[in-house]
């Protein structure tokens, strides 16, 4: 299976090179596409200098639309599946293979690299939010997802097509809920993640409330309309 790793990068000059070096070393068969989402630091220059396969978005469009650009590329280039991979080094490339194997064996449309299949969530505000979203998804779809906010997700062509044609459809938990309800098969595989080392998360603390509010509205209301 031809797999593309989509790496959204907004101002990630401090960690992008190390992340890609590790990815190249550990998973050499995986093609890489960096999405330079209108970075204002040296991310774009780094991509050019290192000769990365990358998309250069002229303005910052945010994670959802940046990732959608990557999915459009994967779709047009005929990839069988695509995985979202963080630029900041949180995701470990040694888990790409187990995810791919799970996708092939189970015939799942989406495979989530989950931190909590066999391990318990620690107690923090962030995990309370995660548990709440899990509950909402369980409530509306009946499906138990232990790590709905994990950013490490693999999609097959069928799921890819949804990301290409729909708008306001980011790589987020509410999208998972919507796809589950539409009959997409989602499987979780236990992975480990690192704490992020540098850079600022897409989800800064002040934005968490907005993130949760959006997830609530989207999972409880909007998914019945779309």
């Amino acid at each position: 299976m031809k797999l593309l790793a989509i790496i959204p990068a907004y101002n990630e000059q401090d960690c992008i090179v190390e992340t890609i070096r590790e990815l190249d070393r550990v998973a050499p068969d995986v093609d890489i596409l960096v999405i330079n989402d209108g970075s204002t630091d040296g991310t774009g220059d780094l991509c050019r200098r290192e000769g990365y396969n990358f998309l250069d978005l002229p303005v910052n469009v945010g994670l959802s639309s940046g990732f959608q650009a990557g999915m459009k590329y994967a779709d047009r280039q005929g990839y069988d599946c695509a995985i979202q991979f963080d630029a900041d080094g949180q995701h470990r490339p040694e888990y790409i293979k187990p995810l791919l194997e799970a996708m092939e064996q189970s015939g799942a449309d989406i495979v989530i690299g989950s931190r909590f299949v066999t391990k318990k969530k620690d107690v923090s505000a962030r995990m309370a939010g995660s548990a709440l979203i899990s509950f909402l998804i369980r409530l509306t779809t009946g499906k138990r997802l232990s790590d709905p906010t994990s950013g490490m997700r693999m999609y097959n062509r069928r799921a890819m097509a949804e990301f290409v044609k729909r708008y306001d459809f980011g790589p987020e938990p509410d999208t998972l809920a919507n796809l589950i309800r539409k009959g997409f098969k989602v499987v979780e595989v236990q992975v480990e993640m690192r704490e992020r080392e540098t850079g600022e998360s897409y989800l800064s603390f002040s934005k968490s409330i907005m993130y949760m509010a959006r997830a609530f509205v989207s999972i409880l209301i909007v998914q019945w309309l779309r």
Binding site: V61, S65, Q68, Y73
Partner: protein
């Protein structure tokens, strides 16, 4: 409705007219978008010049003070405008995102074709 209140309404309408006309002159506002604001100003003038109209409608829905009725109308209009603007912003945002994505994708496509062309030229030379 006191005469002072009516004067304030007319002054308000004049200010709105002045702003809208200036933006229209500098083509910083499209004619279609100016219609709302011009009608808004006209409505203020009508309310000031013919208070009987305001009295009639406020009586109709049981509002004692006609100035309250004017408040209600202005707030309702602003909410409608705000709502349509939100819709408009969402639609603009979507189109902006698609444009940015297409620019990046086509840029990349062109770059790839250029690269493969150069490589084949290089091979021919060899």
């Amino acid at each position: 409705m006191s005469i002072n209140y009516r004067i304030v309404l007319v002054l308000g309408a004049i200010v709105v007219f002045a702003f809208v006309l200036r933006k229209l002159k500098k083509t910083e506002m499209s004619v279609a978008n100016s219609v709302f604001w011009l009608l808004f100003a006209v409505a203020l003038v009508i309310a000031a010049v013919f208070p009987s109209v305001v009295f009639f409608f406020s009586g109709l829905i049981g509002i004692e003070s006609p100035s309250n009725f004017i408040f209600l109308c202005v707030i309702a209009l602003l909410l409608i405008k705000c709502f349509t603007l939100t819709v408009e912003v969402s639609s603009l945002r979507e189109r902006l995102d698609v444009l940015a994505q297409e620019i990046a994708l086509r840029d990349k496509d062109r770059h790839e074709r250029y690269k493969t062309k150069r490589e084949s030229v290089d091979n021919d030379v060899r």
